[in-house]
Symmetry: C2
Subunit: 287 residues, 2 copies
């Protein structure tokens, strides 16, 4: 499926980026731009056009949820290595939607209270309401990524979590939420360049954390943990998409497109009036 | 004070719109555009320029809060009659800021749980974190506006609330939050036109509520309740601004300007690195 009037794609982005059987993360080149026929120069215009569509789709979704009490919502799950561009996706893709239609949840190191509960406890509380586009900046997948790499939980608990995630996401999807899981995939070299830029620019110093360099040594372990995540949790109701992200402009266009597809699939229509329009016109005119 | 490079204002918006001693709401013409020297045609460009400034200020505020553990934040309180343009302010002014830097709270009819607590209980929970621009779409002022007009609480309880609000806001301001309270002021005729448009356009039908016409009959009572709010709660630490809002483009520019002023007054600077920048460059290069 290609989102309406998204004519700049040569292929089906959904299929090109989706994690299916036999997927191998190591085979994905983070510098590629699968399915996009044009270049960076045109990407800005295409992103702007998509922004208008995304905003209208979300408003329709919201309107329907208010009038028809439908449960449809969208949940974008963003996972990535540091500096891969999650923030840029939120700013430039999600930021084009009316703030009233977006619910953003950033999951950081769990608090002591959160650690007392099951790992999905804090996640469930932040699921989007009907009509809303929810965005998870990191998510329950941290508990099988850093959780696995840094051995923050026993091996059998990590193992248990994959099925717990699948069951949880199935329940969420069945309740009306379209789940779009995205891993922004950058190369270690690109990350090095981006971190170096943070060191070179005083207005970016605050974004740099010396711990980021230590994490780089664990890169292969993280990639292995992602590979396992993809094998165990890319399902029909909650598929993973691996988006090559060395080129920021491509990653933004691709994620925007995945969101547009999810909304197009829901196809929300403006709801009909639940009152007598002509009678109300008369009442209002007389008021 | 005029926000830097906001050269299109002829007067001090802050002073022109601020509710001071002797303020009379009935004397404000909702069609006026105080302090703005240009017209609608230029307003879009000026709003776009301000958007860039607002976004950068907020990022600086956020950066400082992360590194220096400062408490500064901004809280925009929006109150208005239906269709006055709160949603437009959120979409077009607040929407220009990175979604990661904004916390939006819409206060609707209180839930049974909320009604069991003091009226400020639900408000306190939604105050912005350091570094964030909080936006209240309606607020604790509903409890002395509709609360008063529709007699939802005894008269002495309503009376008590004005001082409770002042004490509460003083505490919030002392803790580092710059409070900007805005009433978007439209005329009954303009409201009628806007509601009629909702009835005329199928994509706006969902925004119309027959109860809106009933509320119109209470207009003078609402204006009297607002006048009392202004007299009792426009303080040094949390001033009210009445923004003429019959012209949407003016109201958006004016609110943007008030936010810019609040941020300029905080004047957040990019924080210095808390690590050895040169040493980190070497570590990173070697990684």
């Amino acid at each position: 499926m290609i989102a309406k009037s998204q004519k700049h794609w040569t292929g089906d982005v959904h299929d090109l980026l989706r994690v299916g059987d036999g997927f191998v993360l190591a085979d994905v080149d983070p510098r590629e731009t699968p399915g996009y026929m044009k270049d960076k120069v045109h990407a800005a215009d295409d992103l702007a056009a998509g922004s208008v569509q995304l905003d209208e789709y979300q408003e329709r979704l919201f309107a329907r949820s208010r009038v028809d009490a439908t449960n449809a919502s969208v949940l974008l799950v963003l996972q990535a290595m540091d500096s891969a561009g999650k923030g840029g996706i939120i700013r430039h893709v999600v930021g084009s939607v009316d703030p009233q239609g977006v619910a953003l949840a950033a999951f950081k190191k769990p608090t002591p209270e959160e650690l007392e509960h099951d790992f999905l406890w804090r996640i469930e509380k932040r699921l989007p309401e009907p009509g809303i586009i929810g965005v998870f900046d990191r998510s329950h997948y941290e508990d099988v990524l850093i959780g696995r790499v840094r051995e923050l939980a026993p091996a059998d608990e990590i193992e248990r979590r994959y099925s717990a995630i699948n069951e949880f996401e199935k329940k969420v999807a069945d309740a009306g939420t379209r789940i779009v899981k995205v891993m922004l995939h950058i190369s270690p070299d690109e990350q090095k360049e981006r971190l170096m830029e943070r060191l070179e620019r005083p207005d970016k110093h605050w974004k740099y954390n010396p711990g980021d360099v230590d994490e780089r040594e664990l890169w292969p372990k993280y990639m292995a943990a992602y590979q396992t995540v993809f094998e165990r949790t890319s399902t029909e109701h909650a598929p993973w998409y691996v988006v090559p992200a060395d080129r920021k402009w491509y990653a933004r266009l691709a994620v925007q497109h995945l969101l547009l597809e999810a909304l197009e699939d829901i196809d929300p229509q403006w709801p009909a009036a639940t009152y007598d329009v002509e009678a109300e016109k008369k009442r209002l005119a007389a008021s």
